[in-house]
């Protein structure tokens, strides 16, 4: 059994676990009682989608999906900072 077959066997077990985690994060993001709960759930989901996209880059043997992962990680950090600044200071600022 070479490395490629063992990688695809690994993906059969790993991909459902990640998809189940995304569904549970989405439930918390939809029913979160306060706005910080929603932002925290979206934040966790974005970081984990970045990791999942890096796994998909190996699965589809393409180097282009990785650049999306970097952008997604930086975007989630930006969302946190902007929401925190808007909640504290009532304005975002430029």
């Amino acid at each position: 059994m070479n490395l490629e077959n063992s990688f695809f066997l690994l993906m059969k077990f790993v991909i459902p676990v990640y998809l189940l985690a995304f569904i549970i994060y989405a439930i918390r993001a939809f029913k979160g009682p306060t706005i910080v709960d929603i932002i925290l759930a979206v934040d966790c989901m974005s970081f984990d989608i970045a990791a999942f996209m890096a796994i998909l880059a190996i699965y589809f043997k393409s180097a282009f999906l990785i650049s999306g992962a970097i952008t997604l990680a930086l975007w989630a950090y930006l969302l946190d900072i902007y929401i925190a600044k808007h909640l504290v200071g009532k304005e975002v600022g430029v």
């Binding site: 910080v36 966790c44 970045a50 393409s62 180097a63």
Partner: protein, 116 residues
């Protein structure tokens, strides 16, 4: 040598999937925002940084990938970015939630509370 890197990366991806599932369950079941922050740390550091480094090791050890050095380097860079950005973002959210008092909770003691 490449088999060792490949199986180390596969083990880190499996650990990341388990941490991801447990972080999501904690984020769903815990009672208020400040306790959910703990599960969010499990979900980001254990569920995103560990599999990103695992993807890097796995891509370095894989012999079937056409652009393996590009994928490995970019996933290491993404892992370092998430490792720096996730704690700073959750700390900013916790600061904003405590400052604006939008979370309903009954603390035993709150050292950050300011007297009106």
């Amino acid at each position: 040598m490449s088999e060792i890197l490949f199986y180390l990366g596969a083990l880190m991806i499996i650990i990341g999937g388990i941490c991801d599932l447990f972080g999501a369950l904690g984020l769903l079941k815990f009672p208020n925002f400040y306790i959910r922050l703990h599960a969010a740390t499990v979900g980001t550091i254990g569920g995103a940084v560990v599999p990103l480094f695992g993807v890097g090791f796995l891509a370095l050890g894989a012999d079937f990938l056409p652009h393996k050095y590009a994928i490995a380097g970019a996933s290491f860079v993404t892992g370092i970015i998430v490792l720096l950005a996730a704690p700073a973002g959750s700390h900013a959210l916790a600061y904003a939630a405590h400052k604006t008092k939008i979370v309903k909770w009954e603390p035993k003691c709150d050292h950050l509370e300011v007297e009106e």
